[in-house]
């Protein structure tokens, strides 16, 4: 019994204040007229929360859907831009290639205009089918005035170099024997000392050209790096076309002539265009200027 009384006392001690506090709040609410707006406020609060929830869900879904759509759009846009970029890159590459080709053609054109003895400008279209012989086919033949034994030159790095001669002229194409072929002999002279000799190749474009029959007495003045040009002392090659530079001088112990090894003036692996030259009508005529722009005299 005393325990029950103690529990009722505890409840009264704790509950009553709480009750009173709630009551007082209610009273305040009534007196301030807050209570009449309470249901509305509660309803508004609840509905607002639900609305927020719905809005949040809607927003989430919308954002998700939109972002998927946006992602898709972005991807499409990305792909479009990538394609555009690629086409621009191709355009840029084409532009660079066109520019380079333009430069090359300009160089060939300036050579074409500067040399009056050009019969035809041609492009290399084929090479020898095997590995023993070395020849190339150009796209100009007898229909363009090309004839057998006409000299062929090329313009490379600002130098007009001898490339070979026409071996056979067909109707629309010609077979050209390159300078490095062992069967080709060219009357040549050193540009500086005017010493003469006979140049022929060794069959391979990488091997040096050989200049034979150079008198040992004259060979003393020859220096490494001297330019060798055509002498014009034959009916095929016009004078003063660059052949190559002196690479090595071999003087035999017993003999009367020196062998000179030449570095070809042209890089044959890079030649695309060739110029067929008119025949050298007057074998004793020498041009006033050689291919390097140096004034040259007549043969000694």
């Amino acid at each position: 019994m005393p325990q029950k009384k103690r529990g009722q006392g505890f409840m009264a001690a704790q509950g009553i204040p709480l009750l009173l506090m709630v009551l007082s709040i209610i009273l305040v609410s009534i007196s301030t007229k807050t209570v009449q707006n309470l249901p509305r406020a509660v309803a508004a609060g609840v509905s607002g929360g639900v609305q927020k929830l719905f809005f949040g869900v809607q927003n989430f879904i919308q954002r998700t859907v939109f972002s998927i759509r946006e992602l898709r759009l972005l991807r499409e846009e990305y792909e479009t831009l990538t394609a555009k970029l690629e086409s621009f890159e191709n355009l840029e590459r084409d532009y660079v290639n066109t520019l380079a080709e333009n430069e090359r053609l300009k160089e060939q054109l300036s050579f074409f205009e500067s040399v009056s003895s050009i019969k035809a400008a041609a492009r290399i279209i084929a090479k020898d089918p095997g590995n023993i012989y070395s020849s190339c086919v150009i796209d100009k033949g007898s229909s363009a005035g090309v004839e057998a034994d006409m000299a062929v030159a090329a313009f490379q790095n600002g130098i007009e170099g001898l490339a070979g001669k026409v071996l056979e002229a067909r109707l629309g194409s010609s077979l050209v024997l390159p300078l490095y072929d062992g069967r080709l002999y060219v009357a040549a002279r050193l540009s500086r000392t005017r010493v003469e000799g006979l140049v022929n190749g060794q069959g391979k474009p990488d091997d040096p050209l050989l200049m034979n029959y150079v008198s040992m007495l004259n060979a003393q003045d020859i220096q490494i790096g001297d330019m060798v040009v055509t002498s014009g002392l034959d009916s095929i090659y016009p004078p003063d076309i660059a052949i190559g530079r002196v690479k090595e001088i071999r003087t035999p112990k017993y003999g009367s002539s020196t062998l000179i090894l030449l570095e070809p003036a042209l890089d044959f692996s890079k030649i695309e265009y060739l110029f067929v030259l008119e025949r050298n009508k007057d074998p004793n005529t020498t041009a006033p200027e050689d291919s390097l722009g140096q004034k040259t005299g007549t043969s000694p």
């Binding site: 279209i125 084929a126 090479k127 020898d128 089918p129 095997g130 590995n131 023993i132 012989y133 070395s134 020849s135 086919v137 071996l167 056979e168 077979l175 024997l177 072929d181 062992g182 069967r183 069959g203 391979k204 692996s269």
Partner: protein, 169 residues
């Protein structure tokens, strides 16, 4: 027989045109593989008659017309290995890999010997020849050997037009 010879020569000529243009700068180290020669070898091995040798002669003439070589030069270079093949086919059976490689390589060596024979008969000034000391010659032999197996496999598909009568018949 005529069909086989004409077809071999036509396809051989096609290969020669490819060699002068698309393969003009060489396949490896500036060395041009001799595809027409591989065709001649295959035709010689797989025909009982003289189809291979005649096709070798005609293809060689076509090659000489495209080249600066004297007319008949490549014909000789093709005929000698084609003739040698006619003896080989009696001894060994063609497989898919080893024999084509050996045939392609050794026949190129024989072609080199044929060119040296020509250079000895004519002067070296008039005709050029392979040099056994030149690395490019060995590269050509190796390339021809390596390409023999896949090309022989392709030629097998053209048996109806390239072969008249097999040696076993």
């Amino acid at each position: 027989m005529t069909r086989s010879i004409l077809a071999s020569t036509a396809i051989g000529s096609l290969f020669l045109f490819i060699q002068t243009t698309w393969l003009g700068n060489g396949l490896f180290w500036g060395v041009i593989p001799d595809l027409a020669f591989l065709l001649i070898l295959w035709v010689s091995y797989n025909n009982k008659g003289l189809e291979g040798i005649i096709a070798a002669f005609l293809s060689g003439i076509v090659c000489d017309l495209l080249s600066s070589a004297p007319l008949g030069y490549t014909s000789f270079l093709y005929i000698l290995p084609a003739y040698a093949i006619s003896f080989v086919r009696k001894i060994v059976d063609m497989d898919g890999l080893v024999l084509p490689v050996i045939l392609g390589f050794s026949s190129t060596l024989l072609k080199g010997i044929a060119s040296i024979m020509l250079a000895l008969v004519f002067s070296g000034e008039l005709v050029e020849s392979y040099s056994f000391g030149d690395l490019r010659f060995w590269v050509e032999a190796a390339i021809n050997g390596a390409l023999a197996a896949p090309f022989f496999f392709l030629f097998k598909k053209l048996t109806p037009i390239l072969v008249t009568r097999k040696p076993s018949e």
